[in-house]
Amino acid sequence: MPSPALLIVIPLIVAGFLEGFRKLIPRWLADLVSVLTGLNNFVLASAWTIHALARTQVYWFGDWYPRGHMALGIGFVMDGAGCAVAALTGLLATLSLLYSWKYAEHGGGHYHPLMLVFLGAMSGFAVTGDLFNMFVFFELMSTAAFALCGLKTQEPAPLAGAFNFAVTNTVAAFMMLTGIGMLYSTTGALNLAQIGLLLTGRHDRLVLAAFVFLMTGFLVKAAAVPFHFWLPDAHAVAPTSVCVLFSGIMVPFGLFGAMRVYATVFQGSFAPTQVHWLFVGSGAVTALWGGMMCFAEHHVKRMLAFSTISHTGLMTLAFGLWSKDALTGLFLYLVAHGLIKAALFFTAGILLHRFRTISEPALFGRGKALPWTAVLWMLGGLGLAAAPGFALYAGEARVTSRAPWTEGIFLIAGVLTGGAVIRVGLRVFYGIGDRGPTDKSAEVDETPETDADSQRIPWFLFFPPLLCIGTAVALTFWPAFTNAAYSSAVRFLDFRSYAHAVYASATAMKMLTAAKEPLEPDLLFGLLRAGLAAGLAVWAVQHLKVPRRLRWPSHLEGSMDPVRSLQSGHPGDYVAWLTVGFAILGAAAFWLGI
């Protein structure tokens, strides 16, 4: 197998080359080279996934193997989950770069290099086995993301959105660094496995403080309530192809980092039963809050951003359950959500390209000319509501199979987010009902990303969402995918096998052949959820045809100003909320007796 370092090195070198010669390189060549680089990452990471599913591989840079218990060098731990997430990153980056082919504005030649740095940093973050290395990749990916978010510098709004995003996430990154410093001070180690071994059984204030600092850092990226305020602002202003990477993979990466650090570093100190409520509670609140805000939103991209908050909350909830089934479901959910959310953002980008606006009231009835785009959008909405036949449904069924009481939260979040997407579809593509209420954020429109004279929809705008939806459906009919998620989950949970892989470069084979228990998904429940989502959407758009006291979906849609005003757009407020969240997390951890 080629070295896993190529996952990071190739995008970074190509990025440097494109940036250095950006005045000389024609647009088509920059597009071609970046798409090929993304594709290379996808193929390489997929090959590594297959390789790593058979046995967890560890790559030590410069052959600096551990001496005894002391990890001297920096190691990449190539396990099933990490490699698969890196492959998903490669796929989404390839499609995003293809989507922005030729037409999309490219920020004076900086767009392609930034996208490739973003890709390289995320790939490294997925597989690294070193805590400080993780921080560096995290910051590299954040910095590229800040710049990509504020790429449209002709308008002040993108700058404000990117500024809020940058300030909030940088404060979080320094909290993370403080946590890393604390862990280093007590263990003298930076390798995840080594810290984990040294901390096993330790249970004191310092470890608790490090836990709270690190988890805050990751949860800000994962947009858990009340750390989520930056996310809608950033998504509303970033270019479409960048939004795909933000929602599809960067935000879930925050959660993935939290999971990785918990599984390796803290699992020996705080048992899963102790942290259970911390993440289940945070996930449930985030899922419901995000769902509610999503339904109340009328700026299409911001609406999708709130649905990302909601679905990442559901994944956080699955993380809190911390069982084989919950984690299998979480991995299925992560991949499926990434694909479906990417498809929806791509489709929203088509609307922006064709009609030069992204606000729901302004788009009313104008989408009738685009029947195929309408099909994609509606399928995306059903997929988001986890209708049977989409991989999201398989993931959701896995998570709730051992914890039936979480079904209610999945139901409400799925119905609200899926319902909101279908509502937009009904109004925009079919012109049903009325324009609906408007709001401040929908009045702030977005500058189109493409030339005004191009009214056609070329294949490279249509192909990426089609492929995403197709893949999200196809994955449910591919049993190997579920099996791979299962064996990744089993190994992700087990710190001893991780540490064994790091120190002996081998994993107990019996872990890998663990049989997957068969699961009969509850088809009826999936149909009910999809039906409710569609029903809610129809109810909301046809609200004038029902008696006044039965119009509660339109209250849910239009009368949420008190809660919406929390989203104030002021970086100071967001950091204040971050501090409050940090205090709540710390107090909860203390109170739960962690």
Binding site: T153, A160, F174, G569
Partner: protein
């Protein structure tokens, strides 16, 4: 007690930076407060690596076994500085652009995305 002093300083600087960002009325002020918040991590990391009577970790010309301060945290700090410089440069560039396009440097006047 005295050995713990740098940690209190680090916490104090962190809180100063946080307070500054929350109360900020000017974007440049916000960015500077972010660098203040960040310097708390310098103090923290250096305090962690400090050894009383330790030499600078330059291993040329000193005999093995001589106590030095921890070089790992110093390299962490160096990386930290690089990260911080990048972010601050980017943020200040955004402030300049925001002033050019919006004619203001107050976060209150740049709130386009509300609700």
């Amino acid at each position: 007690m005295l050995a713990d002093f740098p940690y209190y300083i680090a916490a104090w600087i962190f809180l100063c930076g946080l307070y500054g960002i929350v109360r900020s009325r000017h974007l440049v002020h916000t960015v500077i407060c972010l660098t203040i918040l960040q310097s708390s991590t310098y103090v923290l990391l250096l305090a962690i690596g400090f050894r009383a009577g330790g030499y600078a970790p330059v291993f040329a010309g000193i005999s093995p076994g001589v106590v030095t301060v921890d070089p790992v945290v110093q390299s962490l700090m160096l990386t930290d500085i690089v990260v911080e410089t990048t972010v601050v440069a980017l943020l200040l560039a955004m402030v300049v652009k925001a002033f050019e396009k919006g004619g203001t440097t107050s976060p209150d006047d740049l709130r386009f995305m509300r609700g």
